[in-house]
């Protein structure tokens, strides 16, 4: 029996749900033990997902592996279908990794911790589901399931009682509006591609062929409806209004999940169910989406430059970075797409680290406000060094991970149109400006400790704690390793992306 016949993807999806149920059910076990259990499950999940990645590690596997296809309603072709190519593999590993980090960092949750950890695990499981669906309907189901844990975590565990409900509602309504359009498009797709009396198929590979035979107009409408869901999820300007408040209000482990992996589901959707499913329409609308991506890059950077609260700045910076990822995807060439997937991985490491570092700082200072901090380097030099490395990674310092992604993305955009790259690099310059404004604002200048809110601080004013070293050192090492040798990611992706794009080009022109 081939190793890839084992239903590993299903295990990866449902293990966290089982864990979540366990956490809720084991009411009498002390919270500390349960947290260890949650961490153990997340770590085990991460380990399992590595199996999939190593399966693709030699970079030669083409197409989908680890396929599962269980007939659900037999004559109707409605199947529970999973599978992973090397793009999914990296994103699944990213998801399980970020989930692990989030669960670890949620150790000190004070309110209803068991339920919170359960939601975290459930969110991770559903996101793995999104990345491993090869059936449109299955994709849709996980896409919607993802909302539920996120909604509860923002709405019930959020920072400010008055605001969190608003943030959660805005988040859900925005997302729902987008995904309903996607659902309608899926139904329309089923109706329009099923031959009279034939069996409908929602299988990604089959339906790609069918899409190519649709009239051009239909393809474009369908693409736009799908894009509506993704553009909100990523998000891109001007569909981002839910994002800053959701990131700021959500407890940090949730923000880590939202910014680290959930935002990638939107980008992944654009790639798999936008560019690869509707290649002709995608290239027709590429200028529009590149425009939105560039708008997000610049708008997010400017907003980050103007904002005052640390977490909000990071949220806007994330908006700007996601703009780069979408720009890469709609460069519609190997470098752009490869860079985009690489950047999803990189951003999924750097951004959680930044949010966690910000939380660690806020726990000591009791404030999130940039103007109340200053000159803290003398007080906590090690934490200053951590912030420096993370800030540099985030602004794309060559040699650290995010540069490699930006380099390929901008290179792809440059080949698509030099103007895209020239506007894009303005975002890089602004990133240096706002990131250094934040870094220097907190750590340099005359020491300013009188404004810190000692009452609100939850940690004693000491430098990095051992548990924090344990969390951040691996992240920093990853940032450096992926910066020095991004080939670890791009090498695995290369064949897959080349194949997908070749097929897409054939489908787009073959009609």
């Amino acid at each position: 029996m081939n190793m890839a016949d084992f239903p590993l993807l299903s295990v990866l999806i449902f293990l966290p749900f089982v864990g979540a149920i366990l956490l809720v059910a084991l009411a009498n076990v002390p919270a500390k033990t349960l947290h260890s259990l949650a961490v153990f499950l997340a770590a085990f999940e991460f380990g399992l997902s590595l199996v999939i990645l190593f399966y693709f590690a030699d970079g030669s596997k083409r197409g989908y592996y680890w396929g599962e296809n269980i007939e659900w309603v037999r004559p109707l072709g409605l199947n529970y279908q999973l599978g992973a190519d090397s793009i999914s593999a990296w994103l699944i590993v990213l998801t399980t990794f970020v989930t692990l980090i989030a669960v670890i960092s949620a150790a000190n949750m004070s309110q209803r911790p068991r339920l919170y950890w359960a939601w975290l695990l459930a969110l991770g499981g559903s996101i793995v589901g999104v990345f491993s669906s090869v059936n449109l309907l299955v994709f849709y189901v996980f896409w919607e399931v993802m909302l539920i844990p996120a909604y509860f975590m923002i709405g019930s565990w959020g920072a400010t009682p008055g605001l969190r409900a608003k943030a959660a509602i805005r988040f859900v309504l925005y997302t729902l509006a987008g995904s309903l359009l996607m659902l309608i498009a899926m139904l329309a797709l089923i109706f329009s591609t099923t031959p009279a009396g034939g069996t409908p198929s929602l299988d990604f590979v089959t339906i790609r062929q069918a899409v190519a035979n649709l009239p051009e107009d239909t393809q474009r409408w369908l693409f736009l409806a799908f894009a509506a869901a993704f553009v909100v999820k990523v998000p891109l300007v001007p569909f981002h209004s839910w994002q800053p408040d959701a990131y700021v209000e959500a407890p940090t482990p949730t923000t880590v999940m939202l910014a680290g992996v959930m935002s990638k589901t939107g980008a992944y959707g654009f790639l798999r169910f936008g560019v690869l499913l509707f290649p002709a329409a995608a290239s027709f609308y590429a200028p529009l989406l590149c425009g939105l991506a560039l708008a997000s890059i610049i708008y997010g950077a400017l907003a980050a430059l103007g904002a005052r609260e640390l977490k909000r700045i990071l949220a806007y910076s994330s908006l700007s970075h996601l703009g780069f990822i979408v720009l890469g995807i709609f460069a519609l060439n190997n470098q752009g797409v490869n860079g985009a997937v690489l950047q999803m991985v990189n951003h999924g490491i750097t951004t959680p680290a930044l949010f966690l570092a910000a939380a660690a700082l806020t726990a000591r200072t009791g404030t999130n406000d940039l103007q109340k901090m200053g000159g803290l380097q003398g007080k906590w030099p090690r934490m200053a060094a951590l912030f420096l490395i993370l800030s540099l990674a985030s602004l794309g310092l060559p040699g650290l991970n995010q540069f490699a992604g930006e380099f390929l993305i901008l290179g792809g955009a440059f080949q698509s149109s030099p103007v895209y790259a020239i506007i894009g690099v303005i975002g890089v310059v602004l990133a240096a400006w706002y990131m250094m404004r934040v870094f220097q604002g907190i750590w340099h200048g005359p020491e300013q400790t009188s404004l810190l809110d000692q009452q609100a601080a939850t940690l004693p004013p000491t430098d990095m704690r051992p548990s924090e070293y344990a969390l951040f050192v691996p992240l920093v090492l990853l940032i450096i390793v992926l910066g020095v040798a991004p080939v670890i990611v791009t090498g695995v992706l290369d064949t897959t992306i080349t194949d997908w794009l070749t097929q897409a080009a054939k489908l787009a022109s073959g009609r």
Partner: protein
């Protein structure tokens, strides 16, 4: 043994790691030993590497960095005459400055952090020059910028240092993205980013892309080497410790732009645009910065503007294909400018941090600073181009590349293609001559103000340790004899040295390389060049020594300002300017107020003032950029973050939950009921699908 190139890079990196990770467990002496030892051994390795009869064909230590479709980018280290030349300068001068730092920084509590940064800088700079491809170059390029940022802002508690550091990293990032765009242009047109492939590609022979590549790359050069219009960060960079100014902002990092032009000379040489814009920008910057140096009152800022000016000189030469002259001046400049900075450092250290020349004077007569006076004057003579000193040879080599008096000047291929006339090159050359005159003048103005005339400082200068004076002595010797390095057999040494570079890449592009030998200068040119220097020194002597102008110390100047009612005099002028009005006055007389982040004058003060202020504040570039970019940028940013984005959010909220006032009520209602609605939504969706499924099923 060219294989030693790996060690050259590895040793400073190890030094950095040790000081960065374990610095807090090391004593100051151990930390200094590690840092200096690493760079010293790297210098030995560089010598070993340079002592090779023939250079290797390929790069050493290669690995694939990234792979994406047709883009396969691999890294390696390239040992060739150009990289060896740069390695020797970086590690050699770098070692001397490391040793000097031990004494200069000895009072600093953050001693280990300083040496960690310094070793990081050396590592990045070595990566920049040893990389065999443009992406490796970019990584070094950006990381020297990072090290520069960290060291400019080393005194983190000082607002002026923090502001200067941020300015430096933002402007350097502009350069980095220019380099990125240049890289894209190169790889899309040659298919490779490795020098050996890209620079000798057949596509070099033709195409408009060469102009764009040259333009994009030059943005990077201008930012890193502080050329107009990206020069404004370098004078402010003087906020860093003085040894840093000597190493990074004079001898090595800022010359990276010149290195890139020479390294990628097949592209620059093949570009018709570059045949125009490089000499123009070089000459303009050389002249601009020299005039600015005339009015500076801060000793280090004189040297900073002087560095910008000398870099302009190097670009002038590189712009007409005189790459050897350019690299030669890069070397001698590294000697004499490091010497000048370190001499200035001796003074600053002796006066416990004073940098304003108005608060100096007569220092030659003090025992503690007599040595500094001698070493400074050697540096000043070299930069003025006085014979036997190294600057004389390299400056004459540059001026000799221009047809000062017309004559039988042979235009090179790209100049012919671009239609560059001889009179234009003569004009550029004469700008160089005028600059040489101004240079000699401001340098001796600085010397006379600092070391001669009336004593204007208080207290007694204290003596400098040997760790500081010995490196200065070595540099003084090198400054004196350094020019002869290239003199053996009439310039042949340099030509032989760089011959592999010239030959290797001249296959496809136009041959634009202008050897020093082909410009063997005549007596007339020599008289003009030396004459300009002598005249400048003479004029400075007349103005500042023979009929000494009255120079007021800053405290006196502030106290006696025309419109000042009665400022409170504090003993230390640095205590001044706690209040905004006082700070403004300080800005008007050019006193750098380190308690505040922006030392420049406002628009009104600038418009009201005369030529002196115009030059003092670098022709008002800072003000212009503030008006055009910084202030509008900040304004837009705060508009976006505080007004626009929040406004949209509120509009959305009121759209979702009725009025804004009712939003929270609505929120409370939905917080309990919403999820049921949502579940209902999913259910409806599922039902719709099932109905569809049923319909299809019935059709069968």
């Amino acid at each position: 043994m060219p294989e030693a190139i790996g060690l050259v890079l590895l040793l400073p990196f190890l030094g950095f790691l040790i000081n960065a990770l374990f610095g807090n467990r090391l004593s100051k002496a151990a930390s200094a030993w590690v840092a200096c030892g690493a760079v010293g051994l790297a210098f030995v390795a560089a010598v070993v590497m340079a002592l090779t009869p023939n250079w290797p064909n390929g790069a050493a230590l290669t690995y694939d960095w990234t792979l994406s479709g047709s883009w396969k980018i691999s890294f390696g280290l390239l040992a060739d005459p150009l990289s060896a030349w740069m390695c020797l300068i970086i590690t050699g001068v770098g070692f001397l400055i490391h040793v000097y730092s031990i004494g200069y920084m000895s009072h600093e509590p953050d001693f280990r952090r300083y040496f960690a940064y310094l070793n990081l800088f050396v590592t990045a700079m070595l990566l920049l020059v040893t990389s065999d491809n443009f992406v490796g170059l970019l990584i070094g390029w950006a990381n020297v910028g990072l090290a520069s940022f960290l060291l400019i802002g080393f005194y983190t508690e000082r607002p002026s240092a923090v502001a200067a550091a941020r300015k430096a990293i933002v402007i350097n990032t502009i350069g980095d993205v220019g380099l990125i765009l240049g890289i894209f242009t190169i790889i899309t047109n040659t298919g490779s980013l490795t020098y050996r492939e890209a620079l000798t590609s057949g596509n070099i022979a033709s195409g408009d892309w060469r102009n764009w590549a040259a333009l994009f790359l030059f943005i990077a050069c201008a930012a890193k080497s502080a050329q107009i219009p990206l020069q404004t960060w370098l004078p402010d960079a003087m906020e860093g410790p003085t040894p840093v100014s000597a190493l990074i902002h004079a001898a090595t990092m800022v010359t990276a732009g010149v290195y890139l032009v020479v390294r990628a000379h097949t592209i620059f040489g093949a570009s018709e645009w570059a045949a125009w814009f490089i000499p123009i920008i070089g000459a303009l910057t050389a002249f601009y910065a020299a005039t600015c140096a005339l009015a500076q009152t801060d000793l280090k800022r004189v040297l900073a503007y002087s560095t910008i000016s000398q870099l302009g000189y190097m670009f002038m030469a590189a712009g007409v294909g005189a790459y050897e002259a350019s690299m030669f001046h890069l070397l001698t400049h590294a000697f004499f400018k490091a010497l000048l900075f370190l001499s200035a450092g001796l003074v600053i250290h002796a006066l416990a941090g004073e940098q304003d020349m108005r608060n100096m004077g007569g220092l030659r007569r003090e025992g503690a600073t007599r040595f500094a006076a001698i070493s400074f004057i050697i540096g000043a003579l070299a930069i003025s181009g006085i014979p036997i000193f190294s600057g004389f040879f390299s400056k004459e080599a540059i001026l000799g590349s221009f047809p000062l008096l017309g004559g039988d000047y042979v235009l090179n291929a790209s100049q012919q293609a671009a239609g560059v006339p001889v009179w234009f090159l003569a004009l550029i050359g004469w700008v160089g001559v005028v600059t040489a005159f101004i240079t000699a003048f401001y340098m001796f103005r600085a010397y006379f103000l600092t070391f001669e005339g009336k004593t204007r400082f208080e207290g007694h200068p204290h003596a400098n340790p040997q760790s500081m004076t010995v490196p200065v002595g070595v540099l003084a010797v090198l400054t004196t004899v350094g020019g002869f390095l290239a003199f053996e057999g009439g310039w042949n040494t340099l030509e032989t040295w760089f011959a592999p570079i010239k030959d290797e890449v001249a296959q496809n592009g136009p041959n634009v390389w202008r050897s020093i030998e082909t410009n063997r200068f005549d007596v007339v040119g020599l008289v003009i060049g030396v004459g300009a220097g002598v005249a400048g020194i003479a004029l400075a002597y007349i103005i500042y020594m023979a009929r000494p102008v009255r120079v007021k110390s800053t405290a006196t100047a502030l106290a006696t300002m025309a419109d000042s009612p009665k400022p409170v005099l504090v003993e230390n002028p640095k205590m001044y300017a706690a209040k905004a009005t006082q700070s403004r006055r300080a800005a008007e007389i050019g006193y750098i107020d380190r308690e505040r982040s922006n030392p420049g004058p406002g628009v009104n003060a600038f418009l009201r003032s005369g030529l002196n202020t115009f030059l003092l504040y670098g022709w008002g570039f800072d003000l212009l950029y503030n008006l055009l970019i910084v202030w509008p940028g900040k304004g837009t940013a705060s508009l976006v973050a505080h007004w626009f984005d929040r406004g949209v959010e509120q509009a959305v909220d009121s759209g979702l939950g009725g009025s804004t006032a009712g939003a929270s009520k609505a929120a409370r209602r939905t917080e309990t009921g919403f999820v049921r609605n949502y579940a209902l939504g999913i259910l409806l969706g599922a039902v719709a699908i099932l109905i569809y499924v049923a319909v299809i099923g019935l059709q069968r």
